[in-house]
Symmetry: C2
């Protein structure tokens, strides 16, 4: 079998051990194993499945520093960031263990029979959610742990009862293989069928395409570029049985600087913004790539402080040489658009390093040129200067769908914010105030999603406990005898901790 190696983020040279280039035969074997394992895996009880997720977390921690070092080598990301990301990954698996135990994801509903109802009796009807089947997960380059082999897509699919076939990101094969080994050990330790988890490696897009086209795959999780996500969506829709693709693709995450906040702390906001923009070389899905503000003194102070901080920002090694080239290209395109003025550039660096960039334009120019709204993945941002609230609202109305929208505001901005909020709700999955969008909390109330093209399916999220819903579908049981009903739908299961909607009344 042919092999490939990771390319160092810093040098672009091959680094680390060689990994197999998987092809159609390995896709077929992985999907066959996943389909075979599905019946037994979906029949696992809540406690058994939760313990499995916790075992994966323990096995990942047990890899120790080897994992952090491999990820540093392959991604160019610093140790502290990767240690934090490991904590997030492990915490995410444990959160889903808690979600599985709590049982609300089953959406249990019972409408008891009404044999005497007129004109017709009502039969006994009971509903639960069941897993959709084997899920294909595409690892993301920018979070080699938290959005990759054992990331949020994998954790939520396994929590739902779906076997997972991961197509590892070729930028971090060693990191991926280490994590895949940890999952495989957890599968064995928990006595589950081996096909519950499979890991495919290789540098080509054909591998991922074959996986999405396999008839045994029932859903797809993806985080990456708009072009990549849309390609997978097209493949999934062209199947004889189409399947959902949950692709998190593209967002420029507008930050609105409201007038009173700008007046009170324009310079401080500028410095803080620059910190958020350049963190991790700007390689976050939620990076603040767009700033909207109304012209005035406060904005001038913001621009001055932001420009100063960005001008002093060191160039940073990007995840791959390809990403670094694409970033430079995106910055050049933006700089060349009519009405765009370069405000600041970060320090230059070596090959493979990205240089921060800040631009400004007018609302009129932004509204005239859709390309200004396209994502430039990296530490580049565009400030759109509006003359008044009407222009600000027009720019919001012209935005594509976003993962986040941020309000920098003081209490005296509240009336304006209240007028803008309904517009922002139509555009973004998460709206935050007086913070920066780059932190994505893993919790129950998180939405890491949003209208197209932020994602391919705005009805859900790829981070947080609601993500489990992506891999479930409802089944109704009518007049099924107690012995044949799924255990959680039997009368005697009441009190097992899972909520039930009984005849329309929610019962704990």
């Amino acid at each position: 079998m042919p092999e490939f190696r990771a390319l160092s983020a810093a040098t672009g040279e091959p680094v680390g051990p060689a990994f197999p280039v998987h092809g159609p035969a390995e896709v077929d074997a992985a999907c066959a194993a996943a389909a075979e394992a599905f019946a037994a895996y979906r029949a696992t009880g809540r406690e058994e499945r939760a313990a499995f997720l916790e075992t994966i977390a323990e096995e990942i921690l047990a890899i120790g520093d080897l994992l952090i070092e491999a990820a540093m080598r392959e991604s160019g990301l610093p140790r502290a960031r990767l240690e934090g990301e490991r904590g997030r990954t492990v915490g995410q698996l444990r959160m889903f263990a808690g979600v599985v135990r709590a049982g609300a994801w089953q959406q249990l509903r019972i409408d008891p029979a009404l044999p005497d109802r007129q004109p017709l009796p009502r039969p006994d009807l009971r509903l639960r959610m069941i897993p959709v089947g084997p899920v294909a997960v595409f690892g993301a380059s920018n979070f080699p742990l938290a959005f990759s082999t054992a990331g949020g897509d994998t954790a939520s699919a396994l929590a739902a009862g779906c076997p997972v076939v991961v197509k590892g990101h070729p930028a971090h094969p060693e990191t991926g293989a280490l994590v895949a080994g940890a999952i495989a050990r957890a599968v064995a330790a928990c006595g589950l069928p081996e096909g519950v988890f499979r890991h495919l490696t290789g540098p080509s897009n054909e591998l991922g395409a074959a996986l999405v086209q396999d008839p045994r795959i029932a859903a797809v999780g993806f985080t990456g570029s708009r072009a990549g996500g849309l390609a997978l969506v097209r493949l999934a829709q062209a199947r004889s049985v189409p399947i959902p693709v949950y692709a998190e693709m593209s967002s420029i995450n507008p930050v609105l600087l409201l007038p009173e906040a700008l007046k009170a702390r324009g310079a401080a906001l500028g410095a803080a913004f620059a910190g958020s923009l350049t963190m991790g070389a700007g390689q976050f899905c939620t990076n603040p790539g767009l700033v909207l503000a109304i012209a005035g003194e406060g904005l001038d102070a913001f621009m001055t402080a932001a420009a100063e901080a960005i001008s002093a920002a060191a160039a940073q090694t990007m995840l791959t040489n390809g990403i670094c080239k694409a970033y430079a290209g995106g910055v050049a395109t933006l700089a060349g658009l009519p009405g765009v003025e370069r405000v600041a550039s970060g320090l230059t660096g070596e090959a493979g390093q990205g240089q921060a960039a800040l631009f400004r334009t007018s609302a009129q120019a932004f509204l005239a040129e859709a390309a200004m709204g396209h994502e430039v993945f990296g530490a580049s941002s565009l400030v759109v200067v509006c003359n008044d609230e009407a222009e600000l609202a027009a720019v919001i109305g012209a935005l594509e769908g976003q993962l986040t929208a941020t309000l920098q505001m003081d209490s005296s901005d509240e009336a304006l914010a209240a007028r803008l909020l309904p517009l922002l709700e139509m555009k973004a999955g998460r709206i935050l105030a007086n913070g920066w969008p780059t932190g994505v909390e893993v919790c129950h109330a998180m939405v890491h999603g949003g209208p197209f093209p932020a994602t391919s399916d705005p009805r859900t999220t790829s981070v947080g406990s609601l993500a489990i819903d992506r891999f479930l579908r409802p089944v109704s049981y009518q007049n099924i005898s107690a012995g044949l009903l799924p255990p959680e739908l039997r009368d005697e299961a009441r009190g097992d901790g899972a909520p039930r909607l009984i005849d329309g009344t929610l019962t704990l």
Copy 2:
């Protein structure tokens, strides 16, 4: 403006008043009005929205017998059936009023701030579901009330807070116009913007296509043919911003006759089956178009009784002359497939009337010819005779996705049923025992949905309270001040009757 008239189901001749043939200008106006009305409509409180749904129900009842007579004339369906359907339509609106009041559809989630958490504080995060925007609803011919102008799609979309633009089915324009008038009166009585509901009429597919392509439409509800549903899905996916289409399309609703039930009551099952098959000329999405059984004496008794009943079944007027012709064509195609034997034919009738038909084949022949699994809309069914359980399981495995799967079983069939149930769960949205699939209860635990091609989106249902979820998406609010939060997410709203997931714990 050009006009068109309904064609009598019985004679194919024009009947009733003339209605406008709407085109692109009316689509544009309707979508503009819906988009304009959306902000105010989605801001309505739960009580206000529930009262609106109840007012629609009252206004429909207030039309009186005029509505039943128009529907009889246009659909050919009998009075008792249409009076029952009106009751179902009104009950459905009232059920959604109750759902809106109960508030669980908002999926409120609150993760309070943890300012002292290490290594990083957790921000305050709150989540709610919001409506997606104006919804296009396509009326279905086979339920001129319950799946049409004010049917399940309209009721659930309005319940979610979405304005609705209905493309009325051209087979029943007068019925549609009467119901649309009732909704418009309810809109006015409740002081809502006029654009909350619009009704478009016309006989062409281009009208529906223009509606799905309008950029202000955010989702589509459809019940009808597979070809029609897939055409809408393709249009929706080809938009610059793709939108979800909830199409309920095609199902043959397998009925499994298990051996002990067949032995005990084969003849009785045969007679009852014929009753379910021929009811309403077989024009139900859940009509039992496929019967699976293992060969034996019980099956012989079933076949004899079913054949006898079907041979005596009167021909019935079908919904439209086009549907009647398509039915005859489908029956002829099925009759001509290799290995298919005609067992019984109903009585012949006049033009526009469908003649019942019963066929049989072997499992081997069924597995060799995919066309045997295609829906024939009307009172035709195919019995697949299996030699043993393995053949039965193979036939189930070869089925496309279905709305329903039915088990006719005795308690001594339970072990076999337990082995088949996991296979059926992968194929159908609803599994029922010892009944017939044609009754679809409107309740909380109903799933009228299922894997492709039963629907275009198996993650949901078009009947029952869960249908509201189709028209909602989650939004997360991070560190948003109390005054700016949506009222239902404020701390003081606790106790308003809606359940909340607070820090992972469900609270009533």
